[in-house]
């Protein structure tokens, strides 16, 4: 009775297999006989990711393998059998999330130059504030909804889509990162108006 050859490599028969050929030469990975034509058609998405206009998609895939961690196999057309509408729905969002960063300028009163940070990198306010503290060497104090930031000269603020300057922390995180255009760490007298207790 025929045995499937495909999962032989799990049993590591390769090591003891008798073959015609010089020792040390490796046979290319066994594939099912039907793959003469399959596995060649690669999702156009892959080539777009790599951004090259090269017509030869096979070599393309190899390049992508090196740049992008790890897809072991080239994607095959029409597999898994999910309609493109559905695939695109989530792929678009994912790509957006993965590739485009959300960089905003951060200025601090008194500092000679601005910094730029990627808001997407942080999962919430605590992380963001900690990063700012480290970056600009200051302490932000304790946040309360009523009084803003207590116990510090510095107040983190941001400019939103409407052009208004808001206190960082008031709105939910998701809304913050979608509406924040740039940030400014206020210091001193200006900061007092926002509930600074100093």
């Amino acid at each position: 009775m025929e045995k499937s050859l495909v999962f032989e490599k799990d049993l590591n028969l390769e090591a003891t297999e008798l073959r015609l050929g010089l020792p040390g030469t490796k046979e290319s990975e066994k594939q099912t006989p039907s793959t003469i034509k399959s596995n060649k058609r690669v999702l156009p998405d892959m080539s777009e990711e790599c951004g090259s206009k090269d017509n030869s998609i096979v070599s393309h895939v190899k390049k992508c393998d090196q740049e992008v961690a790890p897809p072991a196999k080239a994607q095959v057309v029409g597999w898994p059998p999910v309609r493109s509408y559905r695939k695109n729905c989530f792929q678009a969002k994912k790509m957006e999330a993965e590739t485009t960063g959300m960089y905003v300028k951060v200025s601090m009163d008194g500092a000679p130059y601005l910094r730029k940070i990627d808001l997407k990198v942080y999962k919430g306010y605590p992380e963001l504030l900690k990063a700012l503290e480290d970056m600009f060497k200051f302490s932000v104090g304790k946040y309360s909804e009523r009084e803003g930031y207590n116990g510090s000269e510095f107040v983190p603020t941001y400019e939103d889509k409407d052009g208004d300057w808001m206190l960082v922390g008031d709105v939910p995180w998701d809304m913050f990162i979608s509406s924040c255009k740039r940030m400014r760490i206020m210091k001193g007298s200006e900061a007092r108006g926002l509930g600074c207790a100093v």
């Binding site: 495909v6 099912t32 039907s34 034509k37 030869s56 597999w79 509408y85 559905r86």
Partner: protein, 691 residues
Amino acid sequence: MSKDDDRSPPLDLRGADIAESSSKTRNCVTGSGHVTGMNPMEFQAPYPDQVLENVLENVLQFLTSRRDRNAASLVCKSWCRVEALTRSELFIGNCYSVSPKRATARFSRVRAVAIKGRPRFADFNLMPPEWGAHFKPWVAALGSAYPWLEKVYLKRMSVTDEDLKHLAEYFPSFKELVLVCCDGFGTRGLAVIAKKCRQLRVLDLIESEVADSDMDWIGEFPESGITCLESLIFDCVESPINFEALERLVVRSPSLKKLRLNRFVSIGQLYRLMVRAPQLTHLGTGSFSLAEGVAHGDQEPDYESAFAACKSLVCLSGFREIATDYLSAIYAVCANLTSLNLSYANINAEQLKTVIFHCHKLQTFWVLDTICDEGLQAAAATCKDLRELRVFPIDAREDSEGPVSEVGLQAISEGCRKLQSILYFCQHMTNAAVIAMSNNCPDLEVFRLCIMGRHRPDHLTGQPMDEGFGAIVKNCKKLTRLAVSGLLTDQAFSYIGRYGKLVRTLSVAFAGNSDRGLKYVLEGCPRLQKLEIRDSPFGDEALRSGLHHYYNMRFLWMSSCSLSPQGCREIARALPRLVVEVIKDEAEVNRGECEEHIDDAFDILYMYRSLEGPRDDAPHFVQEHSKQKQGIGLSNIVLLIIYPSMKRWRFGLEELEVQNGEFTKFSSMPPVEKQELAFTREKKKNLVCLF
């Protein structure tokens, strides 16, 4: 398929006896009533049996199932004729199996038409676009044959704006348009339908591709007066709509029961619609998030009460860009829901639990695998009445992380004993879980498991998935649809052939070892109608083993298998009523990827029975191996001649040969008694009855 054969129905040989015993039945007599040389004392002079036909008509009109009608139409010519007169719903399973002309000629009083076009694998970009399935020739024929047409249902067809315009023009009583997985049209076409079809009750666009022609089609619905709209489904339309016009339309549509919005409708707008249409039974919520630029917390409407007011809501979907904070708004309706589609909502197990906990009556549940096995366990614990489950992957790639696995499947099988249909995408599966499902869910009719990694074995035992699928076909006695995946040997197909006696649709990908696999299926599954296979090592010999069955099937699809052009030609030669299409993927050839350019190499074999022979709208990349149209297309005809005589009917057989379009006599048999007639299978195939 409603049209099996153009030839006259087989002679009812028992009719002779009945005719002798009573003169009431006229089954043996043709419509023209022409029988010469009859002794008037034995038989009454034949006349068109209007009385019988009227009775038949009154009875047959109650037959609704098309399978029953097909059976009735085969009884005899009279029944065939009357059935054709009383059939009001015409179903064409493959638009190329019969021409519009032939269909409309046979059925003269049709009010509703359903037509299916492309094969399912075309949905996954396996078929080159422009392959065909055009609605155009149909709309023209329907227009002239059925000016009273009310309903059109199309699936996987190419419909143009022009076609929609004609629909609106030809049919003044037009009431229902349902387009599923169609393409080729845009908002311009929709605008014409909205504007001109004054009796429109149903406009359902489901998973169709709608081009954005920048046309405000919602605004084209009549601006004043009450509409008869009952169902408006447009969740697949990927372009913004005129919301104010929609709002006005909903206000003027008191009969509206089903409304499914697209993702360009925000939750705020949803609210406004819901308060104006609390009578809705089916709701697609659109994006279910805030419009851009709207801040959270700004005077938010009371979404909870809007949902609570919809006391008749049983089916909920949408959530295309869900803002999970708002999920709690739907709790009030969950207890009544029989159908919930969260398959576009990226929610986790915790978020799902808050919802599913209330859904005791749920029968249909579509969801994303982001809910993980834990979410499925929660569903299994609550939804005891579940009939249909679909779990879609958020990341449809072979090597992505698999949030659901055999754990979820096992839980579902234990909790949802009434399960009838399941579609499950996962990365890892075990035979044990599949076997468990086969034992726990005996009512399963549809089992579609997609292990996304190709050739992946049972991840705990390392074994092929043969035993799991074997158990499904063995234990689920009602199984009609099966899709297999994972590492499968010929053994799996042996099981399918042995036990899958009711299987009608089978989907195979990257499976099997040899021709034997396909042979098992073709020889073992008598009810097989639709077989789609890709990337499996089945060749010409396997293909040949299905010759006895292909006329009973709607289609066979085989792509990237081990077939040769000669093998396909052989099939075409053997079966003249089969259209054998061989399709090359030109894009691949142009990319110069084929190391050796094999002239005859092809990618897809798509074959289907047809009364029309090769189609005339085939694009250049489709090669047809069917026999040329040559009149009847038979090479031998057997004539059954009935000799009326003194006391009984006598029968003769004449075998004629067709050569160069002309008949030459081959052999003949002198008139014999009925019992002596030997109908060999060969002769039956070529039988043409003459009265």
